[in-house]
């Protein structure tokens, strides 16, 4: 029961969704739509499960005073503050438990949840991702010293695309005569993006698509069962 019923559920649900594409009439069309709605609701609970799991992991870390447990306190405070402000006063488009928070908006200029989002979360996110600019430069250097045909192709394509999308690239090749204008860096970058890059991406998409189709079939037919856990 613990393993077979979930396998049957997966099979029936997967087959129903696939059939509904070819038989969009009652009951398959209706069933598929309803299942996708259920999927959304259960996914919502899955996100909540992730949050609760985060609580559990950090509380255990604090309880047993594991290494760097102090940082878990900060994580928990941040979660509680964000959830608390969101649920109590709501978000920009939603009303919270305490109403629309007009009084607090008059003081802070926006709802506390939005204030935290705009002044803390967005800054942290943008800075965290901008850090990658430095690591990407380091990765480019390492790729360059590899000195293989593949790494050179990668770097030349990257440099051409970057230069072609900036005013510097346009400036550097502005002297090239009209007869060979396809050598203008912006046009060269456009050519790379439009043809060889598209070809590579198509190959990846076809390969990955076939892989996903195969995996989906394996799951629906019960050959792949790792999602049920090992016990």
């Amino acid at each position: 029961m613990k393993r077979n019923i979930p396998l049957i559920i997966t099979f029936l649900v997967g087959i129903t969704v696939i059939f509904s594409e070819f038989i969009p009439h009652y009951p398959f069309g209706m069933l598929s739509g309803e299942l996708e709605n259920w999927f959304l609701i259960i996914s919502g609970f899955a996100i909540l499960l992730g949050q609760l799991s985060l609580f559990k992991v950090n509380i255990l870390k604090i309880k047993f005073k594991k290494e760097n447990w102090q940082y878990s306190v900060i994580t928990l405070i941040s979660v509680v503050v964000m959830i608390g402000t969101g649920l109590l006063w709501g978000t920009k488009d939603n009303t919270g438990i305490l109403g629309n928070g007009d009084q607090i908006i008059a003081v802070m200029g926006s709802k506390p949840f939005d204030y935290l989002f705009d002044n803390v979360y967005q800054h942290l996110q943008a800075t965290m991702f901008s850090l990658l600019a430095f690591f990407i430069a380091s990765a480019a250097y390492r790729a360059f010293i590899a000195r293989t045909t593949e790494s050179n192709l990668l770097l030349i394509a990257a440099i051409l695309v970057m230069l072609g999308n900036t005013s510097l690239g346009s400036f550097l090749t502005s002297w090239i005569p009209e007869a060979i204008s396809f050598l203008h860096l912006p046009k060269l970058a456009e050519f790379i993006m439009k043809y060889p890059t598209t070809a590579g991406q198509r190959a990846i998409m076809i390969g990955a698509g076939l892989g996903i189709i195969g995996s989906s079939l394996r799951i629906i037919l019960g050959i792949e069962r790792s999602y049920l856990g090992g016990k």
């Binding site: 996708e36 259960i42 900060i74 800054h123 965290m128 480019a140 593949e150 394509a157 970057m162």
Partner: protein
């Protein structure tokens, strides 16, 4: 008071920006604190988002507003609660039922979606007459497109050893893939650098007022 909170927000943003950038020197407590705040706020944000944008409109509101017409939504609600049982080791197996439904739906949807968008549509776009272009550049490009797609797909065929003519074809495929990765790398680098410029604009403009934001 509003002005105070505006200024406070800018100062918090600036200090956290420095805390994150301090990682460029080495891992340190300031970075770790900022990182944990980011993790906590992200988790909190998605919690609130899930409540307001997924569970309330799709489950709670239909059930409270018209129960008779929407009672069937009790089933996913029950399955959702069963999903939370994963946190209790003794009855963890109960969560397999909702997971099975989610996995089944995802598999069915992905099967159809990827078959259409990633396989059939891409093949349809590739099976064309490459010599039908208006100019030489376009014809060369279309030939490259067909050759690149074909050789790239050959590279992903691992059931046969890559040697001989098959190996040469796969190697050409790798070159196209590398150009593709290079272009993606270039775009990613540009996106990250523009984010970095955004941070510098914030620090020099909004915070210090040295430049006009």
């Amino acid at each position: 008071m509003v002005h105070f909170f505006e200024v406070l927000g800018i100062w918090i943003g600036a200090l956290l920006t420095f805390a994150i950038f301090s990682f460029l020197y080495k891992d340190n407590p300031f970075y770790k604190v900022a990182e944990q705040i980011f993790v906590g706020l992200s988790a909190g944000y998605w919690f609130v988002y899930t409540i307001f944008f997924i569970l309330l409109p799709n489950m709670y509101n239909p059930l409270t507003e018209n129960f008779a017409a929407n009672w069937i939504k009790l089933i996913p609600a029950l399955l959702g609660v069963m999903m939370l049982m994963r946190l209790i080791p003794s009855i963890e197996w109960v969560s397999r039922f909702p997971i099975a439904l989610v996995i089944g739906t995802t598999s069915g949807v992905f099967f159809l979606r990827y078959l259409k968008s990633d396989v059939i549509n891409q093949l349809t776009a590739t099976i064309m007459n490459p010599f039908s272009g208006n100019n030489t550049v376009m014809i060369v490009g279309q030939i490259l497109l067909v050759i690149g797609t074909f050789t790239g797909v050959v590279y992903f065929y691992f059931s046969k050893k890559h040697e001989g003519a098959f190996g040469v074809t796969a190697r050409i495929g790798i070159y196209f893939l590398m150009i593709s990765f290079g272009a993606a790398f270039g775009y990613t680098a540009m996106a990250r650098i523009s984010l970095l410029i955004g941070r510098l604009q914030f620090l020099l403009g909004d915070w210090l007022g040295i430049i006009q934001p």
